[in-house]
């Protein structure tokens, strides 16, 4: 087929565009396509194109939610991420963030997945060889850091069990201990 613009070159580019609300396809040679600035790019080595569209949608969703909920002030005590930061990045900072932003995430997850609860595989109970070894003398530097680590551990467990009241209490104790340093 000859190019529909110059009628000389071999048409190798199908250019579909909208003219007066109607879809029109022009068959062009590469020269004419280039003149019209039509992209005939090779396999994308462009990294931005591999970013899932969903991430963009999440960010939009987050922005919309922000108006409805007074979430701007919420922040995660474990990793320090605040809600604004999450909104910008679209990524959470740690396991505990799921507890810290639970009310907002509940809406968000429902919007993304159309579901409120996970169904399917659960975690495998950790085998004995994976359980942490008893702390060595070196690791037990001060009682304070040890308790703090324990509390953080408990906080993680409380969050994953969705015992948010308990988590809040643990968080306050962690805060008090950290303040003492």
């Amino acid at each position: 087929m000859k190019c529909e613009t110059c009628a000389k070159g071999e048409a190798t580019v199908a250019y579909t565009h909208i003219v007066d609300d109607a879809k029109k396809t022009l068959f062009l040679c590469e020269g004419c396509a280039e003149e019209k600035n039509i992209e005939t790019a090779a396999p994308s080595e462009d990294k931005t194109k591999d970013v899932p569209v969903l991430v963009k949608e999440v960010k939009e969703e987050l922005t919309n939610l922000a108006g409805a909920e007074d979430a701007g002030s919420a922040s995660c005590l474990a990793c320090g991420m605040d809600y604004d930061e999450f909104k910008k990045a679209g990524r959470l900072g740690c396991t505990e963030c799921y507890g810290a932003f639970a009310p907002q995430l509940e809406h968000l997850l429902k919007r993304i997945h159309g579901a409120e609860r996970h169904q399917g595989k659960g975690p495998i109970a950790a085998r004995s060889e994976s359980s942490p070894k008893p702390p060595s003398i070196d690791e037990v530097v001060t009682t304070d850091t040890n308790t703090l680590d324990q509390l953080r551990d408990e906080l993680a467990k409380a969050v994953s069990a969705e015992a948010f009241e308990e988590a809040a209490q643990l968080r306050d104790r962690i805060r008090a201990l950290e303040g003492g340093h």
């Binding site: 990294k47 194109k49 609860r117 950790a126 551990d153 969705e162």
Partner: protein, 353 residues
């Protein structure tokens, strides 16, 4: 293992098995997992990242699935080596470009792999040839059982596995097929198919790039949501959706053949002729020619050529593969010449036409 030799490795996912009338190149299942006691990617320090790598490697060494796996730290690789891994579908472009402590673990036939410190601490992947996503899910699930028995995953009763991005929360499962849809592209029915898919919470993307202008008429179909439906059901649904699209493609192929049999045959053999004799081939032109040849094989116009041959050719002609084979840096122009050489050599060896 030397990464330069990897380009010639016979990756299992390229072997052309279960290709469903030549339409399905490959399928994959990936799971996103995080270790509950360490910060997720946005907050992880280099020290955290090293701990994560250590824990994952420790767990992998205790299990069977990754007993013969190769491990690479990204910051010890050249950029071309990292791109080679991207072309082989072992790592994401994001992992290839990111800084910090990041790693990749993969088994000898490249069917099972774990990206460490990508968006999540672990991204487990099983990639297989053809339309067997259930098998891919089973294989990645077995690896997950093994690692999950040794690592403490971030998980909640209500929301399932907790991931850095809420779009992966729940099962953490993304399952996909790489499908060749030349006739639907020609008949301009792709848009309709894509809209239909979106309603079924599945999504189509071009193999490279986005939208309907996919290079080489290759598309990736995958599940959009990861929570609320058990893993097995997600995979079943993907297979169902894929079969529907395959039926549409078959109809479109039949219509094309009925309307213009000589033109279709001509297009296929011209493509074959160019691949067999051209001296310069850009990657876009190559992919389009290979698509026509793949269609010709599906329609029985070209005989004596396997899907595995086409898949392998598609990978070894990608930029970093050409570069790795040459052993020196190539300009895009030089690559186009080498691409034509490789295509010519392989078709001559096949001895058809």
């Amino acid at each position: 293992m030397d990464l330069r030799g990897l380009g010639n490795n016979a990756a299992r996912w390229l072997n052309g098995e279960d290709d469903a009338d030549g339409m399905i190149v490959s399928c994959r299942a990936r799971l996103a997992r995080n270790i509950s006691t360490l910060p997720f990617a946005p907050k992880a320090t280099l020290d955290d990242q090293e701990q994560i790598i250590e824990q994952v490697l420790g767990a992998a060494q205790q299990g069977r699935q990754m007993a013969n796996a190769a491990f690479f730290k990204m910051n010890t690789l050249q950029s071309n080596e990292r791109r080679l891994l991207v072309e082989r579908h072992l790592i994401s472009p994001a992992l290839a470009e990111s800084k910090g402590q990041r790693g990749l673990l993969f088994n000898p036939d490249e069917s099972l792999s774990v990206m460490i410190n990508e968006e999540d601490h672990l991204r487990l992947q099983a990639i297989l040839p053809g339309l067997q996503p259930m098998q891919a899910w089973k294989e990645v699930n077995a690896l997950d059982d093994e690692l999950g028995g040794l690592l403490r995953y971030a998980h909640s009763e209500q929301w399932g596995f907790l991931t850095a991005c809420p779009t992966n929360t729940g099962t953490g499962l993304r399952v996909s097929v790489l499908i060749h849809l030349p006739a639907l592209v020609v008949t301009e029915d792709m848009e309709r198919v894509m809209r239909g898919l979106a309603q079924m919470t599945f999504t189509v993307r071009g193999y490279h790039g986005e939208g309907t202008n996919a290079v080489g008429n290759l598309f990736q179909i995958s599940n959009q949501s990861t929570m609320g439906v058990p893993e097995g059901k997600i995979v079943e649904k993907l297979v169902e959706v894929t079969r529907q699209i395959m039926a549409h493609e078959k109809e479109a192929q039949a219509a094309l053949l009925k309307e213009a049999p000589s033109q279709v045959e001509d297009k296929v053999w011209r493509a074959y002729g160019l691949l067999a004799h051209a001296r310069v081939l850009s990657s876009q032109e190559f992919m389009n020619l290979l698509s026509a040849v793949r269609l010709g094989r599906s329609l029985g116009i070209i005989e004596g050529m396997s899907s595995g041959f086409i898949n392998q050719l598609m990978i070894i002609t990608q930029p970093s593969h050409l570069q790795a084979e040459a052993g020196v840096d190539l300009s895009p122009e030089e690559r186009d010449i080498r691409r034509a050489e490789v295509a010519r050599r392989h078709l001559a060896e096949l001895g058809a036409a």
